[in-house]
Each structure stands twice: as structure tokens, then as C-alpha cells.
């Protein structure tokens, strides 16, 4: 008897799942036709789906609630893993089941535009409210696709008890660090996080650019040029042996993972850490006395870290294009919304007005200065293929597996071939 009851129940559940899966698109269609053409009734006016990762979902929920109150539009904030949002968006948007708005870093842009899933955004006068580097990051092939709200970059975190003075150059930094190690006050002169599997192009980029070694050249309008890979430029060929020198001396080690590096700084075992803003809260909570400065250069050119810009994007196949644009352009762009995002997320604001309000926080101010010196991470779709070769070659150079110059030249050749193959 029991099993006879159970079977239809299981089936009902299965069918329910199927019905729900197919139903949401239909519901969207229903909304469209349900709005009466002539009556002035402001009933439910549609709904928006926003994809955000866990760090962003909560502050968004509050702003979304305000939008719902004012405009009667339901906003569903779906929390997803940051790693899944981009690829899921690319594969789901064509089916019409994708989100109306997504939150993510600007370096997704190339891939998203290349797949035709993003709608251009016209910021208009609102653009004046944001820092130039944030706006530059949100442009792809001459069009703007995202509304920025936060900027991240690598900076130099310094334990002020061990090193009261900010070093003017990387050489000075190393001298201080080595002295502290000799005196027994620290274990590592500096902690540069390296992933043993994929290297550390991101953390090493400020040092590399101080040798005049950029990843790509730029077009006249300042955008990255995918045809102009510069990873084997003369500057890069000077950087490679220098990097090998650091590896030989044990200053940079391929086994110093981000976890170990962070832990070393947390416990005062190193005076300097190259890091983004992600762990600043941990250090604060642990009462580590630290200051944040831009990464000093190791050679004559300016040290320019990569800047990641977090922003909001509107889907090209959104069933609610006007509502989505209204939400992003007229709600999320306001100083209040940008401030709310800062208050819960704590990231360096991309809106200059909000940055002015919070500049008395030395950590935010420090990361903001570091980002101002930086360049947006290339948002070219080709970057996916660049990171892997770039990082693996860095690992080989640091470990001394081959001649640094030859490794660098070979890497550039491989990456060019990959980009050409598409």
C-alpha cells in the first residue's frame, strides 16, 4: 500500500520540477501581456532577476527592496558562486532564462560581449561621478557595458611595527625585509603569494610593469590591443632574469601560497605582503598594525598594478530591458546606493563622491591610491588563454627550470599562436 502511494508522489515531484523549469519563461510572457494598455493602474509591473555572488547579494537585497517599494517591481537576487556566474550567464542567456542584471568584475566584459549576451549601457552624465580607471575598465571596443561600483588592486601591506617607513623602491623594501630577517624579527623579507599550480601574474604585475613590461599594447584610444602582445618586450626580457634572481634568493617561492602568505603577515612573520583588499578585515580584526601603500617599483618605469572593477551588467536578452536599465542606471548609480554597497562590502568605491566620504579610513585610502596608479585588467576574451601560459612560465622561471629569457620568448610565441587560433 505504502509503495503505491509513494510512486505517484515521486512522479508528482518530478513533474513539478519539470513544470517549474519550463514555467518561468512563460510567466515572463504573461507579465508582458497582462499590463493593460490604457488603464492607469500601477499593479505588479514585472520582475527582475539579479545574479550576484555572496559578498554582493546582501547589500543588493536592500537596494532592491527600495526599488520594489518605489516602482512596484519585484527584484529577485540570486546568490551564485563567483566562479559560475560568467559561464552560466553565457550559456543561459540565449535560452531566455538568464538574469536581467549580473554583478561581476570588468574582465568578464570581453567574453560576455563576444557572446552577445550584454546590452550596452549609456551612462550619460552619470559617468562624471566615477573614477577614470573604473570607467575605462567598463569600456569594450569603444562602448560602455557596465556601471562600476568598486575597484580592487594589489597594494603593499606593511606591518608598521616592523617597518615604520614606507619603502620608496622594491630594493629598499628588500633591504628592510632582509635586515629584519637577519635581526630575527621576521622570517620572510616579503610575502608574495604564488599559486603553485598557476603562478602569480596578478601579484607580480606591478613589479613587472616597473620594468616597462606590459601584457598588451594599447590602441590610440587607450584600450588594450589583442594583436599587440608585449610579454616579450625588452622590458619583459629584463624582468625575467630579475625574477629568477628573487627565486634563487628565496625571496619569491612557488610554495608560498596565498594562505601561507596571509598567515605569515597575520602573525607578524613578515613585514611586507603584496595583497588585495580581501583580507584587510582579517588583519584589522587580529589587530595587526599595518598600513597600505602602492607597490613600489623595482626599476625605472612606474609600478602599475592590475585594477579589477566590480560593476553591474544588463543582459541583452532580458525580458525587461527598460526595468533593468532603470534599476542599474537610475538606482544603483545614485550616491546613496553606491554608499550602501560600500557600507556592507567595504570595497574601495568607484564613485568619487563616496570615496571622498570614506577617505579617512586609511586602509580604503591606501587601496584607492594603489588603484589610481593601476591599469584595468585587460577585458579581452583572449585573456583566458594568456593567464595560464603566463603563470606557468613564471613558475618555471622562479624555480629555475630553464633560461628565463628563453622561457619568456617561448611563452609569448605560444600565446600569440593561441590568440591567432581563437
Amino acid at each position: 500500500m505504502r509503495s503505491r502511494l509513494l510512486l505517484p508522489a515521486v512522479l508528482a515531484a518530478t513533474l513539478l520540477a519539470t513544470a517549474c523549469g519550463g514555467g518561468s519563461g512563460g510567466a515572463g510572457n504573461g507579465d508582458k501581456t497582462a499590463a493593460p494598455a490604457a488603464s492607469g493602474q500601477a499593479a505588479a509591473t514585472g520582475s527582475l532577476t539579479v545574479w550576484a555572488d555572496d559578498a554582493r547579494a546582501k547589500p543588493l537585497q536592500e537596494i532592491a527592496a527600495a526599488f520594489t517599494r518605489d516602482k512596484g517591481v519585484k527584484v529577485k537576487v540570486v546568490q551564485k558562486g563567483l566562479g559560475e556566474i560568467r559561464d552560466d550567464f553565457v550559456s543561459q542567456a540565449p535560452t531566455g532564462q538568464g538574469p536581467d542584471v549580473v554583478v561581476g568584475p570588468h574582465d568578464w566584459l570581453g567574453k560576455l560581449v563576444h557572446n552577445g549576451v550584454l546590452a550596452p549601457l549609456e551612462l550619460g552624465d552619470r559617468a562624471a561621478a566615477f573614477s577614470p580607471v573604473a570607467l575605462e575598465a567598463m569600456r569594450y571596443e569603444g562602448r560602455t557595458y557596465g556601471l562600476p561600483y568598486a575597484v580592487d588592486s594589489i597594494a603593499l601591506l606593511r606591518n608598521t611595527e616592523l617597518a615604520p617607513q614606507a619603502p620608496a623602491s622594491f630594493e629598499e623594501l628588500l633591504a628592510t625585509g632582509r635586515r629584519l630577517v637577519d635581526e630575527g624579527k621576521a622570517k620572510l623579507p616579503v610575502a608574495v603569494p604564488v599559486d603553485p599550480k598557476s603562478g602569480s601574474p596578478y601579484h607580480l604585475y606591478p613589479l613587472q610593469t616597473s620594468f616597462g613590461c606590459r601584457v598588451f599594447g594599447t590602441k590610440p584610444d587607450g584600450a588594450w590591443d589583442p594583436a599587440g602582445l608585449e610579454l616579450d618586450s625588452p622590458g619583459c626580457l629584463r624582468f625575467a632574469p630579475w625574477l629568477r634572481g628573487l627565486g634563487k634568493d628565496g625571496v619569491i617561492s612557488t610554495s608560498l601560497t596565498a594562505d601561507i602568505a596571509t598567515d605569515a603577515f597575520l602573525k607578524g612573520r613578515t613585514p611586507f605582503l603584496l595583497a588585495g583588499p580581501w583580507d584587510a578585515a582579517t588583519f584589522k580584526a587580529a589587530h595587526v598594525p599595518f598600513a597600505v601603500d602602492p607597490v613600489p617599483g623595482a626599476d625605472t618605469a612606474p609600478a602599475r598594478p592590475f585594477v579589477g572593477v566590480q560593476g553591474f551588467f544588463v543582459g541583452a536578452k532580458s525580458a525587461n530591458p527598460i526595468l533593468a536599465q532603470d534599476f542599474v542606471l537610475n538606482y544603483l548609480s545614485t550616491p546613496q546606493a553606491q554608499r550602501a554597497l560600500y557600507d556592507t562590502g567595504g570595497r574601495v568605491p568607484a564613485a568619487t563622491a563616496v570615496l571622498d566620504q570614506v577617505e579617512n579610513d586609511p586602509v580604503v585610502a591606501g587601496f584607492a591610491r594603489a588603484a589610481q596608479a593601476g591599469v584595468p585588467t585587460p577585458n579581452l576574451p583572449a585573456m583566458d588563454g594568456v593567464w595560464a601560459d603566463w603563470g606557468l612560465t613564471q613558475l618555471a622561471i622562479v624555480q629555475g627550470r630553464g633560461d628565463p629569457t628563453e622561457l619568456t620568448t617561448a611563452m609569448a610565441g605560444r600565446i600569440r599562436a593561441k590568440i591567432a587560433a581563437g
Partner: protein, 540 residues
């Protein structure tokens, strides 16, 4: 890897049937009560109601394939459960439904995708691609302002009402350039919201006509070079000019600036005669192209053989060694002579309780050259490159995988040993067999019969053991001179991952094609293995 263990307890006495004399077994319930019938009707009704809802939703969405599938499914469910017949089907139907949804559909999808160029830049259909190309080519007229605008309607027609900086107001609609409006109605903010004959749309009305409004283009003047006004958010408008025009009948895209004509190609993009391509493209069937590339591409063929050999070694050792360890432990702990064997058993099963990928990550940290527990604490500060030397990395990957999988083998062997009836071993003893002989000639052959299918399954699983490789070494260490990113510990499956997703584009079609080839390899091995072991043959 969720095989069930044989659960028959070892010393159950044969069940005695109650003597038929005097005792009366209750007759099977031939006709169920009214309650059962009612429950069945209610449940079927609920299922049907949900199905009808799903059908309506799918029809509104024009998903006719899904509509058909759901319709057939619903009819089948009703046919099976409504009547008293089809009793076996009543039990099989849920399983079959799940099989169709989770297995057959996925397999078919993979099979179809392998013959397409589905991937980055080709992720949707042609109309989507055309729309995206045109949207991307639409640029704002230089130095044109963003003006406050209202969406207004007259009957079915929507128009844009634009307030100029000097408070003068202009109105236009599709194909009808802006012209001045007399006596407009302003809102409190000084923005015109209505004009004679034209009604302002409320926010919910705008929401109801979003597609129409976002597609609305109002020419600024008669001169096409001055661009067209469009609104993105319903409250402001700006002038845009499009450089590209799509000709629906000729199926071409023309660049107005240079007169270049882009035509669709067989691989799903619009391309100019000089080879310039417009992005994005769309999904098309490319026949056997993906398979051809795998079999002829030098970058793939070069490392393929080495990876194939290593994959067999990895999968073989990952089955043989844990099985050996598991068998020995199970035999030792199966006897009751060892004190506290229950505690040992629980401890041995512990690694199995860890999620495999978590275990791999923990091991990655422990095997770190300079800071890992193994080198620092166990080897007193040695710097053994466990994961960065090619041969040590292979050894480490195997060692960790053995650690992860031996508890499973131990469980299986314990279960199989306990399932061997005590009478058999007793009989062997009486016939004069020693402990070792019993093990070798009685227990192990019986045990092997029981576990061989599981060993084959374990082999197939390890053949594609992506997690352990990816988490521990990422396939590396990689030879920096190799043409493609293939490392010493890469299995076929992680090679596929890198081929399909490691370049600048994600190539799903290609990934599907390689998975099909891997399936062929694994299936062949399994079939040969099962044939030889005769594991699935009925025992007579």
C-alpha cells in the same frame, strides 16, 4: 560510486515456512479499499494539474519540444496509474522517468553538441547574433546630449517626448522625425510628460510595453546622419547612429561607412570578403569537424599517447593497490580474534567520510615543498618537491588517491567476505584445508565474483578522476617547453578540460566530441572486462 553492499548476514538459519496445517495465511488484498482509490485519484489529479500548468507555460514560451515531451509523459503516467493493469510498469515508471531526464537527455545532448561549433562566440542562434551585432554597432552621436524624455502613446503608437534644455518640447515616433509640440504638460520637475492627443505612459504601462519601447527609434531629423533617439530607461533619450545595417532578404550585413558587405559563412559568422568577421557568431552543425581536429591536430596528437598511457597506469594502480590494501585489512579484521576490531574498522573507514576533493586540497597543503606538514614535520625540514617534480608528482597523486579510495575497497571486501556462508568454509576445513588454502581457494574466488563489477566501475571512475588531479596538481608540473599546456599528471579527462576550456575560447562542441571518444575507450574496456569476468552472467 554508491554501490550497495551485500547485506545478507553470515549465519542466518534457513527460514522455515510455517506449517500449512491449521494456520491460515491472510489472503492477499485483491480489491483495495476506497481510501486507496481516492488517494490514487487525488495524486493523479495533482500530477495532471501540474502537467497542465507546465504545458500552458511551455506553449506560451513556444518550447514545442519540451511541450511534446511533457505531453507524452503525462499521457503515459495516466495510462500506467489509472488502470489496474500494467503492474510492472507502475514500479518501473518513476525510474524510467528519471533515467530519461538525467541520463538519456544528457547523453543525447552531448551527442548532438559534438557535431556543432557550440562554444564562446557561437552560443546562440542567428537572430540573437544579428541583434547583438547591430546593438554593438549602435553608437551615440558624438557630442549629442542625453535629454529628459517621456514615453507617450496615442492608441497603439508609442512616441518620445523630449524636453530640450530651453524647456521647449519635441515629439516624434518611429519613422517620424522630431517636431515642436505646442502646449505640453509638464511635471513638477519641469519635464514634459504629455502633449495634445498623446498620453503619458505610467511606469507599469511602460513595463508592459518594454520590448516595443526599447526597440523604438525616433529620427532626430530627416537627415539619417543626425541619428535616431532611443530610450534605455524610459526617462531619458539620446541620439544614436548605427554603422551596420542588416538586410533581411539578402541575409547580409552592410557597413554604411565603408560599404563592406558581410555574408554568413558555413561556420556560423558574418564575414567580409577580406576575412574580417563580426562577433558574435551563432551555433551551426559542423559535421565531423570536431572529431577531425582531435585526430589530426598535432598539438593534441603529440601528448595524447603519453597521457593515455599514464591514464591507464593511474586508473590501474588506483584500483589494484587500494583493493589489495582493502582485501588484506578486511581479511585481518574479519576474524574475531583481533581485540577491538570494530574500532579499527571505524578508523579505517574515516578517509571515506571526507569529500574526495576536500581531501585532495588538504593533501595539497600537506605536500607543499617548503611549508607542508610532510616536509616540515615528518621529514624534519626537507624540501622534497612532492608536487612539482614530474615523477614525485605522479607518485604523490597515486598515493593520495590510494589513501582516498582504500576504505571503499575495504568496505566492499568486508561485505563480500561476510557474505560467504560459514558452511562453505567449514566444509573446506573438514575436508582438511588449512587456513591459507581456504583463503586462496575458497574465499578469494568467491569474493572476486562478487566484487569484479565494482572493480570495473572503480576503474572507469578513476579513468576519469578529474577531482583528484585538478585539486592536487592541476595536471602539472608542466614542461615549460611543451606546445600545449599538458602536465605530467594530466589524465585524458583533464586534458579534455584544458583543450576545450584552456584556450582563449570555451569550445563545448569540441569537449563533447572528446568525451564521446573517451566514452568509447572506457566502454570498450568495461565490455571486455565484464565479458572476461562473466560477472553479469546468470549463475546456474
Amino acid at each position: 560510486m554508491t554501490q550497495t553492499l551485500p547485506t545478507q548476514p553470515p549465519h542466518t538459519p534457513p527460514r522455515r515456512h510455517p506449517a500449512s496445517s491449521g494456520e491460515r495465511r491472510p489472503a492477499p488484498a485483491r480489491h483495495r479499499g476506497l481510501g486507496g482509490l481516492a488517494t490514487r485519484i487525488v495524486l493523479l489529479a495533482i500530477v495532471d494539474a501540474l502537467a497542465v500548468y507546465g504545458l500552458l507555460a511551455l506553449a506560451a514560451d513556444r518550447s514545442w519540444w519540451m511541450f511534446g515531451a511533457l505531453l507524452v509523459g503525462t499521457v503515459a503516467v495516466n495510462a500506467v496509474y489509472a488502470g489496474k493493469r500494467h503492474v510492472p510498469a507502475k514500479y518501473l515508471a518513476p525510474g524510467i522517468a528519471l533515467l530519461l531526464v538525467y541520463q538519456v537527455y544528457v547523453v543525447l545532448y552531448t551527442g548532438v553538441a559534438a557535431f556543432t561549433n557550440y562554444g564562446d562566440g557561437h552560443n546562440s542562434d542567428k537572430p540573437d547574433a544579428v541583434a547583438a551585432i547591430l546593438a554593438h554597432s549602435e553608437t551615440r552621436v558624438p557630442d549629442s546630449p542625453v535629454r529628459p524624455a517621456s514615453v507617450v502613446a496615442r492608441g497603439d503608437r508609442v512616441g518620445l517626448l523630449v524636453t530640450q534644455p530651453d524647456r521647449s518640447v519635441r515629439l516624434g515616433w518611429a519613422g517620424h522625425p522630431l517636431e515642436p509640440v505646442e502646449q505640453p504638460v509638464y511635471d513638477a520637475g519641469g519635464r514634459a510628460v504629455a502633449a495634445p492627443g498623446w498620453l503619458a505612459l505610467t511606469y507599469s504601462q511602460i513595463a508592459g510595453r518594454q520590448k516595443e519601447i526599447s526597440e523604438l527609434r525616433v529620427p532626430v531629423t530627416d537627415d539619417p546622419n543626425s541619428g535616431s533617439l532611443r530610450t534605455a530607461d524610459g526617462i531619458s533619450a539620446a541620439a544614436y547612429r548605427s554603422t551596420l545595417v542588416y538586410d533581411h532578404d539578402a541575409d547580409t550585413i552592410t557597413d554604411r561607412a565603408g560599404g563592406v558587405v558581410y555574408r554568413p559563412t558555413s561556420d556560423g559568422v558574418f564575414a567580409a570578403p577580406d576575412g574580417t568577421r563580426l562577433s558574435p557568431g551563432w551555433k551551426v552543425f559542423v559535421g565531423l569537424d570536431n572529431f577531425e581536429r582531435i585526430l589530426t591536430d598535432q598539438d593534441i596528437r603529440g601528448p595524447f599517447l603519453g597521457v593515455l598511457v599514464w591514464t591507464f597506469v593511474f586508473a590501474g594502480v588506483s584500483v589494484a593497490l587500494p583493493f589489495g590494501i582493502g582485501l588484506v585489512l578486511a581479511t585481518v579484521l574479519n576474524g574475531k580474534r583481533l581485540g577491538g576490531h570494530r574500532i579499527y574498522r571505524s578508523l579505517i573507514v574515516l578517509p571515506y567520510a571526507f569529500p574526495a576533493f576536500l581531501a585532495a586540497l588538504v593533501w595539497q597543503g600537506m605536500l607543499n615543498t617548503d611549508y607542508g606538514y610532510v616536509n616540515v614535520s615528518l621529514l624534519d625540514g626537507a624540501h622534497v618537491p612532492w608536487l612539482t617534480d614530474p615523477w614525485l608528482a605522479r607518485l604523490s597523486v597515486l598515493a593520495v588517491n590510494v589513501w582516498i579510495s582504500f576504505p571503499y575497497m575495504f568496505l566492499i571486501c568486508t561485505g563480500a567476505l561476510q557474505a560467504i556462508p560459514a558452511e562453505v568454509t567449514e566444509a573446506a576445513r573438514i575436508d582438511g584445508a588449512g587456513r591459507r588454502q581456504v583463503l586462496r581457494h575458497i574465499k578469494i574466488p568467491l569474493l572476486l565474483t562478487a566484487v569484479t563489477p565494482m572493480l570495473i566501475a572503480a576503474f572507469a571512475f578513476n579513468f576519469n578522476n578529474f577531482n583528484v588531479i585538478y585539486m592536487l596538481t592541476g595536471g602539472g608540473p608542466k614542461d615549460p617547453d611543451a606546445p600545449i599546456e599538458v602536465g605530467s599528471t594530466d589524465l585524458l579527462i583533464s586534458l579534455v578540460y584544458k583543450l576545450a576550456f584552456g584556450g582563449s575560447n570555451r569550445q563545448y562542441g569540441m569537449a563533447c566530441a572528446v568525451s564521446i571518444l573517451i566514452f568509447v575507450v572506457v566502454a570498450a574496456i568495461s565490455v571486455i572486462g565484464l565479458r572476461r569476468s562473466r560477472a553479469f552472467e546468470e549463475q546456474t
